[in-house]
């Protein structure tokens, strides 16, 4: 199969959909000839023109609201926020408007839009351009939340997000943009709410999101050398969450380690851990659940400190061993 990057997969998913559906358009800051902060929309304005690759003023609240209003009246906008940190400025429009409109209106009206935004640290961009705030939006009923980890997944999940009649917050990881993978050329859809077992194992389940999927796989590789068999589950979407796959895996392995880049305190890992504690998998747990997440500090600038902030492969290996009383 053909190999392309995660970034190209995002662009291809949008381009193919825009060719097929006139209602789909992109709006965002510097997405025109500049090609977007990370170059995702590069070249698209040439094909689709400035009406549909719509460069906006630097007005996150205004453009988020405009996307909501356009979606409510029949368009299917894709809103690109340059950095996921900037959702703070668009929060009212996403949380108080987009997420609630359908419910407040008693089921009338719908808001089919995708808010795409790059998240995560590792670029040295420091505290205001490196956060992973997915737990904020996952907390809000009415929003769907997607965190793809591979080029293959990002294309299929974005197609599903664009097809969805609800507001979807779509987190792309900056460090994954350049990663390559086999991606089918044709359009395909990966249903929202379907986790993917990225590696099968029997001793410990690691539930990891976004870039942590890759670190978990690396840890699993290492642990295999010591005879420890690790299963890596990638939920892919936080809302809706495929609880069944995670419960099944934990019931099988009896041990759970949850890893995400977002700050551990109040992170989505807490939701996954509690979900397991409340599920039938509880009775199969043979060790306390471990959570790994970002430190309780803003993301530092210094590259070494920045690494220390987020879980690394050795941290995951250590956590797995602790659940096996082998640390």
């Amino acid at each position: 199969m053909r190999e392309i990057t995660y970034l190209e997969a995002v662009r291809e998913a949008m381009s193919q959909e825009m060719r097929a559906n006139e209602d789909v358009f992109i709006l965002g800051e510097d997405i025109g000839v500049y090609g977007g902060a990370f170059g995702v929309t590069r070249g698209m304005i040439e094909e689709f023109g400035p009406e549909r690759i719509r460069n906006t003023p630097i007005s996150e609240s205004g453009i988020a609201g405009a996307a909501v209003g356009a979606a409510l009246t029949g368009m299917r906008p894709i809103l690109e926020l340059q950095f996921s940190d900037f959702i703070t400025i668009a929060m009212d429009q996403m949380v108080n408007q987009a997420a609630k409109i359908r419910y407040m209106y008693g089921g009338k009206g719908k808001v089919p839009m995708v808010l795409r935004t790059p998240s995560g640290s590792g670029t040295g961009a420091a505290a205001q351009h490196s956060q992973s705030l997915e737990a904020w939006v996952a907390h809000i009923p009415g929003l769907k939340v997607v965190q793809p980890s591979t080029a293959h997944d990002v294309k299929g999940l974005l197609k599903a997000a664009m097809d969805d009649d609800n507001p979807v917050i779509f987190y792309e990881h900056k460090l994954l943009y350049k990663t390559k993978g086999d991606v089918p050329e044709e359009q395909y859809s990966i249903p929202l709410g379907k986790a993917d077992v990225k590696r099968e194992g029997t001793d410990v389940t690691i539930v990891a999101t976004a870039i942590m999927v890759h670190r978990a796989l690396e840890a699993a590789e290492e642990l295999e050398k010591e005879g420890i068999s690790v299963e890596v589950v990638d939920p892919r979407t936080l809302v809706p969450l495929d609880t069944e796959t995670i419960i099944q895996s934990v019931s099988k392995t009896s041990r759970l380690v949850v890893v995400h880049e977002a700050v551990k305190r109040g992170g989505y890992g807490a939701e996954i851990a509690s979900m397991i504690a409340e599920s039938e998998a509880f009775d199969y747990l043979d060790a306390p659940i471990k959570r790994l997440g970002g430190a309780s500090s803003p993301i530092p600038y210094n590259p070494e400190l920045e690494k220390m902030h987020v879980p690394q492969v050795p941290d995951i290996i250590q956590a797995v061993k602790e659940t096996l009383n082998k640390a």
């Binding site: 209602d23 003023p57 408007q97 359908r102 419910y103 008693g106 009338k108």
Partner: protein, 326 residues
């Protein structure tokens, strides 16, 4: 109608209709106020008694395809855009027969099919939505306009400035109607806005800004007519400032200590309903008796709406989780 300069669309019959509509709005709100005071309706409510002319005047020119976004003080906009008081009252009673099946309440009444994109509990929250709606019209080449109602308080929100700028640079068919009722909750506009007229803020975005007497329905109709023409001609948005007054407090439990009785009485003299009645009598469009009959009809409709609301079933637990996602 020799003396009366109004757009063609506004016939004598339409004016008579508008007179009754203003009474409908007022009685609806008075009734709601009374039920809140009696504890018969829970939650909170914001009333626009005294501001009926801007809602009725602006919406008088709108077709079903045209859209509005409204505010927390939005009962009038709703009725003016074609919502029926029975389903509105049922909503305030929290019944499944309400516009939002009892899930939205006073601050979130919407009637998307009738072009009402919804009231909004967030001050300034609906302004970007209106711009989005206008963006749809522009991209899909649909010939509708979007009217965006908001209050004087909202013009100090960032969303107002972002949205007006966006609509201006994209030349979108949207009409921003600022109902300046002099107070953002307790904050007097004189203390919160440095410029004399909010309409002058339009200059900053390169669009026309118009000041109008918000208690004069005829003036409201005429300025709106011009704004619609601009929007439909691709000349972009207009900011209309309707100077008016909120007779009642911000919401319930408002002792109105921030203003005087004298000031209130001054504005009561400018009662928009009374003014239209006097005009229509002087123009011989209707008689005092007809006016009285219309008022009673309106009252009766509101009482019927209450009866309808009271009969409606309460939602059940089964309704709690429906409508979260499409």
């Amino acid at each position: 109608m020799n003396h009366l300069k109004v757009p063609e669309k506004i016939t004598e019959n339409k004016l008579v209709e508008l007179y009754k509509q203003m009474w409908l709005i007022r009685y609806f709100e008075e009734k709601v106020d009374q039920f809140f005071a009696k504890g018969k309706i829970h939650g909170t409510t914001h009333l626009a008694v005294g501001q009926e002319a801007s809602a009725a005047g602006v919406c008088a020119l709108l077709d079903k395809e045209d859209k509005i976004t409204s505010t927390h003080r939005g009962h009038g906009h709703c009725i003016a855009k074609g919502a029926t008081p029975d389903k509105m009252m049922a909503e305030l009673f929290g019944r499944t027969t309400g516009y939002c099946k009892g899930k939205g309440g006073s601050m979130h009444i919407a009637d998307v099919e009738m072009g009402n994109l919804g009231a909004n509990g967030i001050v300034g929250g609906g302004i970007p939505l209106a711009v989005g709606s206008a963006l749809t019209a522009s991209m899909k080449k649909l010939n509708y306009v979007t009217v965006c109602f908001f209050g004087d308080g909202a013009t100090n929100e960032g969303s107002f400035h972002e949205a007006v700028n966006l609509a201006a640079v994209w030349n979108l068919p949207v009409i921003f109607v600022c109902e300046n009722n002099q107070y953002g909750m307790s904050g007097s506009v004189k203390e919160m806005v440095k410029v004399e007229d909010i309409a002058t803020r339009a200059k900053a975005y390169g669009i026309p800004g118009v000041v109008a007497d918000g208690n004069d329905i005829i003036e409201m109709i005429n300025v709106t007519d011009e704004a619609i023409a601009r929007a439909k001609n691709g000349e972009g948005p207009t900011l209309i400032e309707a100077k008016t007054y909120r007779w009642k407090g911000h919401s319930k439990s408002d002792a109105k200590k921030y203003r005087t009785r004298d000031e209130e009485n001054e504005w009561r003299e400018k009662d928009p309903i009374k003014r239209l009645k006097e005009l229509l009598i002087s123009e011989s469009i209707f008689t005092e008796e007809k006016a009285e009959a219309l008022r009673k009809e309106a009252l009766k409709e509101i009482e019927d709406a209450v009866a309808f609301a009271e009969e409606g079933p309460m939602p059940t637990k089964d309704d709690l989780l429906t409508d979260v996602f499409a």
